[in-house]
Symmetry: C2
Subunit: 434 residues, 2 copies
């Protein structure tokens, strides 16, 4: 066997992903050494509780509660603890002690990414985070490197497996949200507290990371417009299907050109996607990222979005990259955020909409509704009316709009809601990917 330089690897965290990373590092050590050009020695695994149960059978002597000492003696630090602290402090310590960092911590990167990348830049270290954006799907390197010579126009990503699993089952089985959620929790696809997934927080973090990379711009998490899927019900699913759409929770990162000056919009919401679109056939807990670039055209990256062993694959790829860089020498290549495009609020976004109204079933209603839309600068593309109430006193009006400004649309929907002829606004969904 080749006599390689030995690199000490510290692992912080031994949860579902961490355990798999440790197991794979130990099992495939020789193979990884050949690829990295360095022997990757797992120096230790820092955990909070030495006696907690682990997913994989790992040597007891590797575990320690002293993360700081472990970090100080390491060349590569893998942070898989999750959460903000102490992960942030440990990563900064690792960088300042000369280590390269591998992390899957999307919450941390979406919040403190700039601080961490700046710290790495200062000392010439690298931060790798392939697992932070779409699980096992290689999307970071394609965006950061392969498309670095192109101009990304739009990203539409299904980046949260739990919500895609729920929406997919609602679509294919005609089930209700809460029933599928309960099932997903029982099967381990959803957490006991599903808020981070179903309210779109997880997707918003990933959207911020993807947009930062795609547009070379620092995207603070609070600039990401976020809506979850808890309001999606069977009726909306049925209506979407009837109209040739499927509802997907999308992370949309878009470059806007408003009369020359460029800006970007980053938003997460359930949207109507045409059944012919490649994203429509992403089923179950899978993820996919659809990228439109000026020169490259349409690209799609598809795969498992989560899961311990799948995410471990992305983490280990980063570890090999970090090792190769350590051996090759030179400083790490920092994040490129020099474009720093302005980020516009969701009100500036222009898309098509589908608005469903419950209205009084009487003459002149359509004229009134059409009048309100027209006053609000929202142009109607399609209208479908169905009688709904058992006593046939109300009807349902499904209005497809032409492209309109979100602000115009939401102002108009407010006026519709206040109108005498409208009983209630059933739903307002954007149409993406046309």
């Amino acid at each position: 066997m080749t006599d390689y330089r030995r690199l000490r690897v510290a692992l912080l965290g031994a949860g579902a992903v961490g355990s798999q990373v440790a197991a794979l590092l130990l099992r495939h050590g020789d193979e990884l050494a050949d690829r990295a050009g360095a022997t990757l020695e797992l120096a230790g695994i820092a955990v909070r509780d030495l006696d907690a149960p682990r997913d994989a059978d790992l040597p007891k002597e590797l575990f320690t509660t002293d993360a700081e000492t472990l970090i100080l003696g390491s060349d590569i630090v893998i942070e898989l603890m999750g959460g903000i602290e102490p992960a942030r402090t440990y990563i900064l310590q690792a960088i300042n002690s000369g280590a390269d960092v591998v992390t899957a911590n999307k919450a941390l990167l979406a919040t403190y990414g700039s601080e961490i990348f700046d710290a790495a830049d200062q000392v010439g270290a690298s931060v790798y985070y392939e697992a932070a954006a779409a699980g096992a799907i290689p999307i970071i390197r394609p965006l950061r490197d392969s498309l670095a010579g192109d101009r990304v126009q739009r990203i539409m990503g299904i980046v949260n497996g739990t919500t895609n699993y729920i929406l997919d089952r609602m679509d294919t089985e005609g089930a209700e949200f809460l029933d599928v959620l309960a099932d997903a929790q029982a099967l381990g696809y959803a957490e006991a507290d599903p808020t981070a997934d179903v309210e779109g927080f997880d997707a918003a973090q990933k959207a911020a990371i993807l947009a930062s990379l795609a547009f070379h711009t620092t995207v603070p998490l609070e600039t990401v417009h976020r809506e979850g899927i808890t309001k999606i019900d069977k009726g909306m699913m049925d209506a979407a299907r009837h109209a040739g759409y499927v509802i997907k929770l999308l992370a949309v990162c878009e470059r806007l050109a408003d009369g020359g000056a460029e800006s970007i919009s980053v938003r997460v919401y359930p949207a109507l996607v045409n059944r012919d679109h490649p994203l429509a056939s992403v089923h179950g807990a899978n993820n996919a990222v659809f990228v439109q670039a000026e020169a490259a055209g349409n690209l799609m990256f598809y795969g498992a979005g989560a899961g311990g062993v799948q995410t471990a694959s992305a983490v280990l790829g980063d570890v090999v990259s970090a090792a190769r860089r350590h051996i090759a020498g030179g400083v790490g290549v920092g994040e490129s955020t020099r474009a720093n495009l302005p980020i516009v609020p969701v009100g500036h976004v222009v898309t098509r909409y589908q608005v469903t109204l419950e209205v009084a079933d009487e003459p002149g209603v359509l004229a009134t509704v059409a009048g309100i839309l027209s006053e609000g600068n929202v142009s109607i593309a399609t209208v479908e009316q169905t009688v709904t109430g058992e006593d046939a006193t109300t009807a349902r009006l499904v209005i497809g709009t032409h492209r309109a400004r979100e602000q115009d649309l939401s102002d108009t929907v407010e006026r519709l809601a206040a109108s005498d002829v409208v009983v209630r606004v059933v739903s307002m969904l954007r149409v993406e990917g046309d």
Copy 2:
């Protein structure tokens, strides 16, 4: 504007891709500088004929016929001439003069890749070739870097746009091969001499490159089993559709485990793909690479496989990477071929098959055919018989097999062909992706 270090970029070749690369370099120079951390100065464009017509309007003073002088003064050399010589000599000169190299030359890499990578390793230079494997689809970095910590089990790629365009139209329109080919030539999707595409040579080069990366093994082009699509006719397409399949020209790179010792198989042939498989819905001239890895599971990368501007995107991404490395310092990370797994001939491959026979329509024929298959260690999964001849003296027998060794199957098909009851072997297709 930031005062960046200036890097001199030489472009060799100004065809469809080269012209676009030059135009984009000139148009987006400031933006690329911000991303690369260096000003990319297009120092010159080497061509054979200064007066040849170009796709883009480029400054005349950039053109030169003196490639060698241009190369010697450059930091990054982009080779887009195609062919073996003088591309090979120029690339070696560039490496030895300290430049990094970007190339889209699949023929060269599939043939002289080892020589070029070794030369780069010697001096610590880098060779980038994202555009050589699947046009604009980022697949090199995912395989080389993102999946470097995983074990790729199988790649199934639609890596030739021309043949996918032809097969897709044959499938959707029920057209014949030669008619669609003529149309594809008229539309510019196929060359006047379509051999490289329709006989699978182009796909075989890409298969060699993908397999080298995925299995960390040098894969000589002559070890790639290759069959084209010229024998695919309407009858085979109809039969495939009837059985729930679509015929795609696939590049299959597979890791085999024969009792512990690992080996790989690399092959290009038209295969039956289940309509439910993600590869089945890759239409037109698009490409897609489906990757199965031990930890990451199933991944798919989809996009435009060719086209001047699409390929230019991949080339420019490489140029930015090369510039970043130049600025960061350190030696280039070489190719990892340390696994060097043995490459087995196609006879060792195990898949399922669909064999279509024209047989005499008389009692006992099925028994005879079944007997020959059984003697050959080929187990039958499905049989369908249809009367075909106008005078009803022959019938068509479509036999689906269980997984069998290719050598056993082809020996058996030979014996079937020689049998009295078999009029002719209509087709023999592998089933991939089950």
